[in-house]
């Protein structure tokens, strides 16, 4: 049995963090998720050249390979920089204090 007083006491500062976040924090969390996924995506994209044919029939020209690798590289850098900027606002404190979840 839990009276109104008991419920109030449970709402102290030591309560576990709320399950749901407001929209802004939620967006930032998801942005961090995306930033975490970025290296995995990068690894996958850099592994794509392994699928290119190397036999006589359908070879890939070196210039195309260079364009692909450096293109992916540039995109990764750009996206990473964007994430850095996007999570900077108000995110610094979180980086300093927030445990990893």
């Amino acid at each position: 049995m839990k009276g109104p007083a008991g419920e109030e006491a449970g709402r102290g500062p030591l309560q576990p963090p709320p399950v749901f976040l407001e929209r802004q924090s939620y967006r930032r969390r998801r942005l961090m998720d995306a930033a975490r996924l970025l290296p995995l995506m990068g690894a996958a994209l850099f592994a794509v050249p392994l699928l290119w044919p190397t036999d006589e029939a359908g070879t890939v020209r070196m210039s195309a390979a260079i364009t692909y690798v450096f293109g992916v590289w540039a995109v990764l850098i750009a996206v990473s920089a964007l994430f850095g900027r996007a999570t900077r606002q108000g995110g610094d404190r979180q980086i300093a204090q927030e445990p990893e979840r």
Binding site: G3, P4, G6, L38, F46, T59, M62, I66, L76
Partner: protein, 892 residues
């Protein structure tokens, strides 16, 4: 042609410039003006020591030999940096919070401050990095030789340049790398110089690249066409090597001592990682942007047999661009020197903290507190270590002959250093990783790397040919390049696969099987959960420690002034005015951390242990400290329980108070009711007896009538008093129950007979005698009293024209209930709550009883263990009598 002398002069000028910059930066930082020295840009540029001369010159050669594969060396670090959120952030946080001085220190600190582990990592690092330093010396010598060949005037002795370069680097590293003892402090001079060198090598490579693309090849389109037309113009790559080297480069990027030095130890602010996360990959991309064009143009222009490793230098020379060649030379020189300086610094810290200091401390016996300045010992050890490491590199270079064998050493060193990775990653993310696991894993990985890669890679003769052919001891499954009979793999892929996978497996299995010491578990919790609690372990019980001894020891390590300041501020923090602080566990822990910044965690722990009398982490401490959050949670839940209990008590009190108030009100109402009830018959008795007494000549009829009234009123009084007495007896629980056995049908029969005899209004009662044949064991008289009351009530109050009462018996939820329902209008809704209260009468005008009947009924039923309630939702007045549980014995 640029004469060698000019080159030497430019070199000297450049070195002097670097010295000047380093000196100025150190001066700036000592005066506190370090804002731009601490900028994320400088941090990012300092990371560029990843690009050594091997990558500056070698990348072009690599591209000329195997196409685009060279790019994997940069892709690995790019992925690591972009994924900084996964691992680097934690690594840097741990490094900063634990005041880690090197990668060996980190590993040792994580696994219970074990010095054995630190020594292992140090040895591995020295073995892996020394050839790498030799490689840098070789590249400088080779580039010197290019100019020397072109200069007919002077011809210096073979390799003498390497010697002088090694000496110069040693001097630089000693001067700026060992200025202060606290290895955890920032070496602003070195870092700034490294940042400038980073700019120089980038500019140099870009300049050569631009010259090649637009100066020689004739634009971007033409360059691409030339690339496609060249011998590396077709995509051709070994899949295994592509993936392996990417992974290896990523691992080495984190584990290399020099990378750890600039990335973690010299890190000023975690937020710099955010900038470096994209800026450093950008740097790497720019560094590799023109590699393929340079290689292709070099292959076209240069004569057959020219060393492709030096195209960066030879192409401008061949085209007569001497200034560009000079710039390119400076770029290569920068790459080599910055790497060697930082690597030597990092290695010397490891060697002095983990090998020299423990030996020196042991040699001193138990006297960590004897007088003498440890600082000079540590600094001296560090300087000598730098010199020794560079000397080792130089001799390695001389002995190996500087051939192609050396060129392949870069990747081999990567593979060696990557053996630290399982222990590092496991230590950061897995609390179950133990010291034994780390030791076993490192050993397995190291031995396998040595056997499958380093020794075979050092050239023929190091491993006997028959071992290579038929395996160790003639066991064919032990062939260095075909372990377990898996032949035909690229040696690099083969070695990395076996050494790292077996290393990881050994690490995991040994960790699972061994049990960590308390200190290890503490440190493990701190490393793995660094974001949750950064507070240190309370590993000391200070009662034994002597503040004075600690002070003497600290002075010798930190310096007199610093130690005094530290002790004084600690004393003030403790709120005491004394000069020396109390040796509380918290103070000891901070002191240990302060010392560990100078001499490493293991040594600092050992030194304090000598004075305090051994570490005293108990399992209790561990449980208490490791889960601060659990404690908080427990405390909060206890508070919550307390507050819930309090609120429960308060509610009970409130209820009790309400009851008391009600009872008091009830008592008042009862008193006024009872006096009213008693007064009414009394008044008429008095009045009629007065008439009888005072009136003469009363007709006998009247006399009889008056006497009858008096009699009736007296009877009514008696009945009222009887009821009151009955109720009070029942309420006080003084009633003695007359338990007997009988059938419900008989009880109802008796009640009907009593209630309905002599009434003027007929009441038809419907019953189902069959259902009433239940044997009861209870006070039958009391029970029938209840029924009598209810039937009388129905008879009295049922307002239907043809009053009818139906009595039904049935089973509700395992209890026998008797419903008595009449066909009148029932009791008004608002009066229902009150019908069982004393003196509650629905219609006062109908008169009759005193309103005690139902109250008595309820008391009786509760005494008998049953209940009576008003049954709403029926057509008329309806009462339900629940017979007590276990009252019936058997249904017949």
């Amino acid at each position: 042609m640029t004469s060698l002398n000019v080159l030497v002069a430019v070199c000297m000028a450049y070195v002097i410039l670097l010295f000047g910059v380093a000196f100025a930066a150190d001066r700036l930082s000592s005066t506190g003006r370090t804002t731009w020295l601490r900028s994320p840009l400088v941090y990012t540029l300092s990371l560029s020591i990843y690009c050594t001369a091997w990558t500056f010159y070698g990348a072009v050669g690599y591209a000329a030999r195997s196409g685009l594969e060279f790019v994997t060396i940069y892709l690995g670090p790019t992925l690591v940096m972009i994924g900084w959120w996964w691992g680097l952030r934690k690594l840097v946080r741990v490094g900063r919070s634990q005041r880690v001085t090197s990668i060996a220190d980190l590993i040792s600190s994580r696994y219970g401050k074990s010095n054995t582990l630190a020594v292992c990592v140090t040895l591995l690092a020295v073995i892996g990095v020394t050839p790498y330093i030799a490689l840098q010396l070789q590249s400088i010598t080779l580039s010197f030789d290019i100019f020397a060949e072109a200069d007919p005037v002077s011809r210096p002795g073979e390799g003498s340049s390497a010697f002088w370069v090694a000496c110069g680097l040693a001097v630089f590293a000693i001067l700026f790398g060992t200025r202060n003892l606290d290895a955890n402090e920032r070496h602003h001079g070195v870092v700034t110089a490294v940042a400038i060198e980073a700019v120089v090598k980038l500019v140099a490579l870009l300049a050569v690249g631009v010259f090649v693309v637009w100066g020689i090849a004739g634009g971007l389109g033409d360059t691409l066409a030339r690339i496609d037309a060249s011998e590396i113009g077709v995509w051709q790559v070994d899949h295994g090597r592509w993936a392996t080297i990417t992974f290896l480069a990523a691992a080495a990027f984190v584990c290399l001592p020099r990378m750890f030095q600039v990335m973690v130890v010299e890190n000023d602010d975690e937020r710099h990682l955010r900038t470096a996360a994209w800026a450093f990959p950008l740097y790497l991309m720019l560094m590799s942007l023109f590699v393929v064009p340079i290689a292709v143009v070099g292959l076209e222009l240069m004569p057959e047999g020219a060393n492709p490793d030096l195209f960066v230098l030879t192409i401008p020379l061949a085209e007569g661009q001497e200034t560009l060649a000079m710039l390119s030379f400076l770029g290569g020189f920068s790459s080599a020197t910055s790497m060697v300086i930082v690597a030597a610094m990092a290695l010397s810290t490891m060697v002095s903290n983990h090998i020299v200091m423990p030996i020196w401390l042991n040699a001193q016996g138990s006297g960590a507190s004897v007088s003498g300045d440890v600082r000079s010992v540590v600094l001296y050890a560090r300087r000598v270590s730098i010199a020794v490491i560079l000397a080792l590199g130089y001799f390695y270079y001389r002995l190996s002959g500087g051939g192609a064998a050396l060129a392949s050493i870069g990747l081999i060193a990567f593979a060696g250093i990557a053996q630290i990775l399982p222990a590092l990653v496991g230590g950061l993310f897995w609390r179950g990783a133990t010291r034994t696991g780390a030791l076993v894993g490192l050993t397995v990985g190291f031995v396998l790397w040595l056997y499958t890669l380093l020794l075979p890679g050092m050239g023929a003769g190091v491993i006997a040919p028959q071992v290579m052919e038929h395996g160790l001891f003639g066991l064919s499954w032990l062939r260095p390049q075909a372990l377990f009979g898996i032949a035909g793999m690229d040696p690099m892929v083969h070695s990395v696969m076996w050494s790292l996978s077996l290393n990881t497996a050994a690490f995991c299995i040994a960790s699972l099987l061994s049990f960590p010491s308390p200190l290890e578990r503490l440190q493990g919790a701190q490393f793995v959960n660094v974001f949750d609690h950064s507070a240190g372990p309370r590993g000391w019980t200070g009662s034994v420690a002597q503040s004075e001894d600690l002070m003497i020891m600290s002075q010798r390590i930190m310096g007199a002034r610093e130690a005094q300041e530290f002790f004084q501020s600690e004393a003030m923090a403790q709120g005491s005015r004394a000069y020396l602080p109390e040796p509380t566990p918290a103070f000891l822990e901070r002191l240990e951390r302060e010392l560990s910044g100078s001499v490493g965690a293991a040594t600092a722990h050992a030194m304090i242990g000598q004075i305090v009398g051994g570490s005293s982490v108990s399992v209790e401490d561990l449980l208490a400290v490791a889960d601060e959050s659990a404690q908080l949670l427990e405390y909060s839940s206890r508070l919550e329980a307390k507050s819930a209990e309090l609120s429960r008590t308060a509610r009970k009190l409130r209820e009790a108070n309400e009851k008391l108030t009600q009872i008091s009100l009830q008592k008042d109402a009862f008193l006024s009711q009872i006096s009213h009830e008693l007064r009414t018959p009394m008044t008429s008795i008095r009045a009629f007896s007065e008439i009888l007494r005072d009136t003469d000549g009363l007709a006998p009829v009247d006399k009889t009538r008056y006497a009858a009234i008096i009699h009736d009123e007296a009877l009514r009084l008696t009945r009222l008093l009887d009821d009151l007495l009955d109720l009070s007896v029942l309420e006080n629980g003084q009633v003695t129950l007359n338990m007997g056995q009988g059938r419900l049908v008989d009880v109802l029969d008796r009640a009907m007979a009593t209630a309905l005899t002599g009434t003027d209004r007929p009441l038809r009662v419907r019953r189902h005698r069959g259902a009433e044949r239940i044997v009861l064991r209870t006070d039958l008289d009391r029970l029938s009293q209840v029924f009598i009351n209810l039937i009388t009530n129905a008879q009295k109050y049922c307002d239907a024209a043809d009053p009818e009462l139906s009595v039904t018996v049935h089973d509700v939820g395992g209890r026998i209930v008797v419903d008595l329902i009449d066909n009148g209008s029932g009791i008004p809704r608002d009066a229902r709550k009150m019908v069982f209260e004393k003196f509650a009468r629905v219609g006062a005008e109908k008169a009759g009883g005193a309103g005690l009947g139902l109250a008595i009924c309820r008391e009786i039923m509760q005494r008998l263990g049953g209940d009576i309630s008003y049954l709403s939702g029926q057509e008329g007045g309806a009462f339900r009598v629940s017979l007590p549980v276990g009252m019936e014995i058997a249904a017949q």
